[in-house]
């Protein structure tokens, strides 16, 4: 099942890179969406707007603005990494029933120590598919 998690992580990073804001939202799981909205409220977003975004009753303009900010924030988390040559590895230490950790790596020659971890995507199984809970710009401990 973790093969599917790798593909979802890959699709998520590609959606962030290509600005596919609605696909980014679609690939976020319930907890992931709650997290980003919580962060947005903490940064000053109106709570009623956050509620509308959460239950998908916001206007197109409101959701476009929010999701564009989300995409740019995620891009900042991935800044510096070559997204086209990034590696995706299932982290067996973090993956367990219903959850998966996908390590994002930048390719480096073995003589220089091999691939360098640049981030982690944490996923959870929801309704039979993998969804993203968190994108961390540093590898999981």
């Amino acid at each position: 099942m973790s093969d599917g998690a790798v593909e979802v992580a890959r699709a998520f990073v590609a959606a962030v890179a290509w600005g596919e804001h609605r696909r980014v939202w679609d690939l976020l799981g319930r907890e992931g969406r709650r997290t980003v909205l919580r962060v947005a409220v903490g940064r000053g977003m109106d709570e009623t707007l956050a509620a509308r975004l959460g239950d998908e009753t916001a206007t197109t303009k409101e959701s476009d603005t929010f999701l564009a900010d989300l995409v740019n924030g995620l891009r900042a988390d991935l800044a510096g990494a070559d997204l086209d040559s990034m590696g995706y590895q299932d982290d067996p230490l973090g993956s367990e029933g219903g959850r998966a950790w996908i390590l994002l790596t930048a390719p480096m020659p073995d003589i220089l120590g091999g691939d360098v971890p640049v981030g982690t995507v944490e996923l959870a199984a929801e309704d039979g598919t993998w969804r993203v809970e968190r994108l961390s710009p540093r590898p999981a401990p």
């Binding site: 890179a17 290509w18 600005g19 596919e20 804001h21 609605r22 696909r23 476009d64 891009r75």
Partner: protein, 255 residues
């Protein structure tokens, strides 16, 4: 000072009524034209030409790689009646004018390429570049210098055709620059004309940004302030100004 002193290192002449300063060697035509505009109040349409530039630098200091023997380097002073927020329209007018002028003189089919290139419409190779340097005054553009560089060898033109090319390009620039005096409506017309010639539009692009960051999508259009509109497959629109652009790459494949 309006008259060059003896031994100033250039000759002043006219080409079809256009004042021209010709240098054998100069730091860059843009620098010479800027000095002429600032210090000697050069009139709109005044042009500087040189046989050899010491530092032919384009946008972001990108060096011009063509050898001086097969390069046309020309800078034209403009004095558009533009508010500061529309200043970047000078880039579009310059690119469009150089495209039309070189096309008229060479017979080759050319196109623009946001923000500063003129390309062969058949193979996409760069045949020329423009660089706009705008001087602002209180609440408006005081002057602008448009530098144009053309690879004559790539166009199959000889150095003896320089004056024809200068005349054609500068005339096209005079025509296009009239839009800049017509405020927002004029800039919109300039943008529409530029977009019709822009080979970049419709391409999937990866853009490195200044000071940092990256954006990707399809180059949909250029707006009235010369910003490139990049749109994603899900409709997210981003606008990239010329100042923000570090590098632009066209990407193959579906997304």
């Amino acid at each position: 000072m309006t008259t060059p002193p003896a031994g100033a290192g250039f000759e002043t002449s006219e080409l079809h009524g256009r004042p021209i300063r010709r240098f054998r060697v100069a730091v860059s035509v843009g620098a010479m034209a800027l000095a002429w505009a600032r210090q000697d109040n050069a009139a709109a349409g005044s042009a500087v030409v040189t046989d050899r530039e010491v530092y032919p630098l384009g946008r972001l200091g990108d060096p011009w790689s063509g050898p001086p023997e097969t390069t046309l380097a020309c800078a034209v002073v403009l004095r558009p009646k533009l508010p500061p927020h529309l200043a970047d329209a000078v880039w579009l007018v310059g690119g469009l004018a150089l495209t039309e002028g070189v096309e008229a003189a060479s017979g080759r089919r050319l196109g623009t390429w946001w923000p500063d290139r003129v390309v062969d419409a058949n193979d996409g190779q760069t045949v020329g570049v423009v660089k706009a340097e705008v001087q602002l005054g209180p609440g408006s553009v005081r002057s602008a210098v448009l530098t144009m560089r053309v690879d004559l060898e790539r166009l199959g033109m000889g150095i003896d055709e320089r004056d024809n090319l200068i005349d054609a390009s500068a005339t096209a620039l005079d025509r296009a620059a009239r839009w800049l005096d017509q405020g927002t409506d004029g800039c919109n017309e300039a943008v529409a004309a530029y977009q019709r010639r822009c080979g970049l539009l419709g391409s999937r692009v990866k853009i490195s940004l200044l000071p940092k960051g990256e954006t990707r999508g399809v180059a949909r259009g250029v707006d009235g302030t010369a910003q490139l509109e990049v749109v994603s497959a899900t409709g997210m629109v981003e606008r990239v100004t010329i100042d923000m652009l570090r590098r632009l790459e066209v990407v193959d494949g579906e997304r």
